[in-house]
């Protein structure tokens, strides 16, 4: 062994990494596509030396060593270049000679991902497969007592309201007196949540917008999409498609200059304004667009220099109290659009959610509340925030709804739930469960990236490089060499397919419950779970 062997405390073997590369020498043709496509350069062409012992027949000639070299693929073990398991190598390999394999034990990389004293920052998800929403069952199914509705044949009205709904008496009084009533939009209950133009690649964003426009104009489904922080492309702001878009204003106010300047030129009002205070994946953290993704286009739209990280502060810096946040900001945003556009805040699910909600109920301009649970995804966050902060969505939503019900204001302030909806693929079931727990609608982000663009991330720390702009599928990269991999038309197609199938599945769930003319918001008598503690906590039935 070499006396100056390169072993340091952070020297790892492939066995210590979360993902290991299986490379098959006999199948590999050394085309090099895998190393080219690897987003984190975890593999490289390697030169291997081989010794072969030649033992001639007889006793006269002693055995000899024969040395040769061959070329192949080598996995790097430097923590900075560890394999992320995205599997792009296997997608491009013409011979199926390479594939990442998950380590069969807990990896050691997690102890070393803080080079330079910086904790790990990553994009993606919380990486926890468990989901309470998946365990909820729909137990109220009409069979013989009353005819069930036919999901395939009956007409269903699956709409929800975004906007403050006045109590019946007040609503009619306002109508008679022709007073001002808060704006209300009737929308599809599944919203594409805030994923900004900086976080997503232009192709991904275009694909989503095209899909949403198609759903609205061709399929008659009033689907809405939120911009996320970072503004909105000027052309979209001035187009008739703006009415399908919820503009988000977050604490960095990125892109808002552009939006305010576009106001006089807007042909349509936006669907709503979402004021982001928090995000489920990183509660208390604000937003973060890392410098890798701030190219010239993004810099122009956001009104900042290119190539610098763009953190949004965790709070809106001009405000120092909940009253100010809720009252002042909501009012001024409402005023900017002549009180014609619903304005609502989005917060991370936490133990203070109820305080915010209570405050909103007293504000006539507040149009709703979006609550994002701990299972949300993000473009960039500290590992520790994603994994260990925040509140699960189910109990948070339930508390909020029951609180409103106690006040007699259920559905007056619609609550939108996000964070981990469909994380294991059960989108319609998760969404229906949240609606029956009290949500007026659902926000999705990760799901639509996986369904519409084939995001490779999973709940087992796979990929998670959205933050550094090397997204192997081109979804969250601002590098044209990468995002040209993504065809916006195909994304749009997948968005439409996803929504249509969701629609069918949602009908399949609510038809046997006997609901078709209104969304079963708060219909908790239909829900059951095989966990006594969870059943008690959510006030639903305990079933085993």
């Amino acid at each position: 062994m070499s006396p100056n062997r390169p072993i340091t405390p952070s020297t790892l073997s492939p066995k210590d990494l979360p993902w290991q590369i299986d490379w098959n020498k006999s199948k590999c043709t050394l085309c090099g596509q895998c190393t080219t496509v690897c987003p984190v350069k975890a593999i490289e062409l390697g030169v291997f030396r081989k010794r072969k012992v030649k033992t001639p027949i007889g006793l006269m000639t002693p055995p000899e060593n024969e040395y040769s070299i061959f070329y192949g693929i080598r996995q790097k073990t430097d923590p900075a270049f560890s394999c992320i398991g995205c599997g792009m190598c296997s997608m491009v390999c013409p011979n199926g000679a390479i594939m990442p394999r998950r380590n069969d034990e807990k990896d050691k990389l997690c102890f070393h991902k803080n080079a330079g004293g910086k904790p790990r920052t990553r994009g993606g998800r919380r990486n926890d497969n468990d989901s309470l929403l998946d365990r909820i069952k729909f137990i109220r199914i009409s069979m013989l007592t009353d005819p069930a509705l036919d999901a395939g044949r009956h007409e269903f009205d699956l709409r929800t309201l975004l906007g403050r709904v006045l109590p019946p008496e007040e609503g009619l009084k306002t109508f008679r007196e022709q007073g001002w009533a808060p704006p209300v939009r009737e929308i599809y209950p599944l919203i594409i949540g805030g994923m900004s133009f900086g976080a997503l690649s232009p192709n991904m964003w275009e694909g989503l917008q095209m899909g949403v426009a198609y759903l609205n104009e061709e399929m008659g489904m009033p689907v809405r999409i939120c911009t996320g922080e970072g503004g909105c492309p000027p052309r979209l702001l001035r187009s008739r498609f703006l009415k399908y878009v919820i503009l988000q204003v977050a604490s960095g106010y990125f892109g808002w200059d552009e939006i305010i300047h576009a106001l006089p030129h807007m042909k349509e009002d936006p669907c709503a304004i979402e004021i982001k205070y928090g995000q489920g994946a990183k509660p208390g953290d604000g937003g973060l667009l890392m410098w890798h993704k701030v190219n010239k286009l993004i810099a122009a739209i956001r009104g900042v220099p290119a190539g610098v990280s763009l953190p949004s502060p965790p709070t809106h810096q001009t405000q120092y109290s909940i009253e100010e946040s809720v009252a002042k900001m909501i009012q001024s945003m409402s005023m900017a659009w002549g009180f014609r556009v619903p304005v609502y805040p989005k917060i991370s699910a936490s133990s203070t959610s109820l305080a915010v909600l209570n405050n909103l109920t007293r504000n006539p301009y507040a149009s709703g509340l979006a609550i994002d649970g701990e299972d949300g995804g993000t473009g960039a966050a500290y590992n520790v925030s994603m994994n260990h902060m925040g509140h699960p969505i189910a109990s948070n939503i339930r508390d909020a709804y029951l609180n409103l019900a106690r006040l007699g204001k259920q559905n007056e302030i619609p609550i939108f739930a996000g964070g981990g909806v469909g994380k294991n693929g059960n989108l319609a079931a998760n969404a229906a469960a949240l609606i029956m727990l009290g949500a007026s609608g659902i926000q999705i982000g990760k799901y639509i990236m996986q369904a519409a663009a084939g995001c490779l991330g999973s709940e087992s720390d796979r990929c998670n490089v959205c933050n550094i702009g090397v997204c192997p599928k081109g979804i969250t990269s601002q590098d044209p060499r990468i995002y040209r991999r993504l065809d916006p038309e195909k994304v749009a197609e997948r968005v439409v397919e996803t929504y249509l199938s969701f629609d069918t599945e949602l009908k399949k769930i609510i038809a046997p419950l006997g609901r078709s003319t209104s969304l079963p918001i708060g219909m908790s008598d239909a829900l059951g779970i095989n966990d006594k503690a969870a059943a008690d906590r959510l006030s639903i039935k305990y079933v085993v």
């Binding site: 009409s142 005819p147 709904v165 019946p168 204001k409 609901r515 003319t517 209104s518 918001i521």
Partner: protein
């Protein structure tokens, strides 16, 4: 599925007529109970139009407590029915001590109260009695309202009717709502038996109310006197109607717009479109999903029938000027009004509210796509 039958007649009729109609429709109910609402009373009650009538079932200690309570509140008995029941109740019917329909003179102190206040007081008294009964299990109070008798009992409707001797003159009424109960969803509870009543408004329903829970949560949280109990998933229909008429000040033709609002495309073409859109939006939490046929009686003694938005439950209305009947099946109608002109029977469609006004001269159909009556 429960069977429904309602009658409205110029001349007082015996509630047994309605019970006979239920019996004809018997296949559809298992006879687990019967509920009756009688109004437009004749006989001794006819002259006591202003006196609230208390109806319910009591044990002997319960009636003593009732008397004490009513005396304490300065009510004076003006008339009471009394029946000597046969020793053995029919199969399935429990033995009770007293079935009561008793008319009271209002307390002196009420003289100065406005009619609305008096109505409120009557509801408050009924609720107090209900709670007293629930505490000691000795009283079951169905109604406390002028010109109203309600009778509910477990067992086969016809057997119960005969047992209670409902063919007596004092029970003859001009409006009768009757339901033959098919018990499926819940344990048998007298309070869960239809029809339901609040402040002159009465409805009964068959089918299942799948939106029950969120609607109940809304009604309970609205802090309106009397919006409580909810032993049955259908009870909310009565309270939604009460909410429509009393709180929103709307007419019966708005009721269907609240429980089964029109689709947007229809609202856009409706003469009252903007108003109805507002109604749909603010009353969204009161939307029912059926399947239901609802038959009810309004304070002015109009009878009406509506259905869920997909018309998953049948219903038929027929008769002749002076006497009309509402039934969940045609055979029920045939049993009571065999000589009517069947070609004039009306089977309301999914947008219709069928109303027989207090004059009982015609059947009025109010379709949801029609303009609304002038709002109050």
């Amino acid at each position: 599925m429960c069977r429904l039958f309602a009658l409205t007649s110029q001349e007082p009729v015996s509630p047994m007529q309605a019970i006979k109609a239920l019996d004809v429709m018997r296949e559809g109910h298992d006879g687990s109970g019967v509920g009756l609402f009688l109004s437009g009373l004749s006989g001794p009650f006819e002259d006591l139009k202003d006196c609230p009538v208390l109806s319910g079932i009591f044990t002997t200690p319960g009636i003593r407590r009732l008397d004490q309570f009513m005396m304490d509140h300065d009510f004076m008995t003006k008339y009471k029915t009394s029946t000597r029941l046969s020793e053995d109740p029919p199969t399935g019917t429990p033995k009770r001590d007293v079935y009561l329909a008793r008319a009271y003179e209002k307390p002196e102190a009420w003289k100065h109260l406005s009619p609305e206040k008096q109505e409120e007081e009557m509801v408050r008294i009924r609720l107090q009695l209900r709670r007293m009964g629930e505490a000691n299990n000795d009283m079951t109070v169905f109604s406390f309202w002028p010109d109203t008798i309600m009778i509910k009992e477990l067992g086969d409707p016809l057997a119960v009717g005969n047992y209670l001797q409902l063919d007596r003159k004092e029970f003859d009424a001009r409006v009768v709502l009757a339901q033959g109960r098919q018990n499926t969803n819940y344990a048998i509870n007298l309070y869960a038996c239809h029809p339901f009543f609040i402040q002159g408004i009465c409805t009964m329903t068959n089918g299942e109310n799948t939106a029950f829970l969120p609607i109940r949560e809304f009604l309970e949280s609205s802090n309106i006197l009397g919006y409580e109990g909810y032993q049955s998933d259908s009870e909310v229909f009565t309270h939604i109607l009460h909410f429509t008429l009393k709180r929103l000040g709307l007419d019966i033709d708005a009721y269907k717009h609240i429980i089964t609002p029109l689709k947007d495309r229809d609202l856009n073409n409706h003469p009252d479109g903007p108003f109805l859109k507002q109604l749909k939006e603010t009353c969204r939490k009161l939307i029912i999903d059926g399947p239901n046929c609802i038959i009810g009686c309004l304070p002015d003694k109009s009878l009406f029938m509506v259905q869920d938005s997909k018309k998953l439950r049948p219903g038929v209305v027929g008769g002749r000027p002076g006497m009309y009947a509402f039934s969940s099946e045609v055979c029920g109608l045939d049993a009571v009004l065999p000589d009517r002109d069947v070609t004039k029977d009306i089977q309301p469609m999914h947008l219709d509210t069928v109303i027989v006004p207090p004059t009982r001269q015609e059947i009025r159909i109010c379709r949801q796509t029609d303009p609304l009556h002038l709002q109050h």
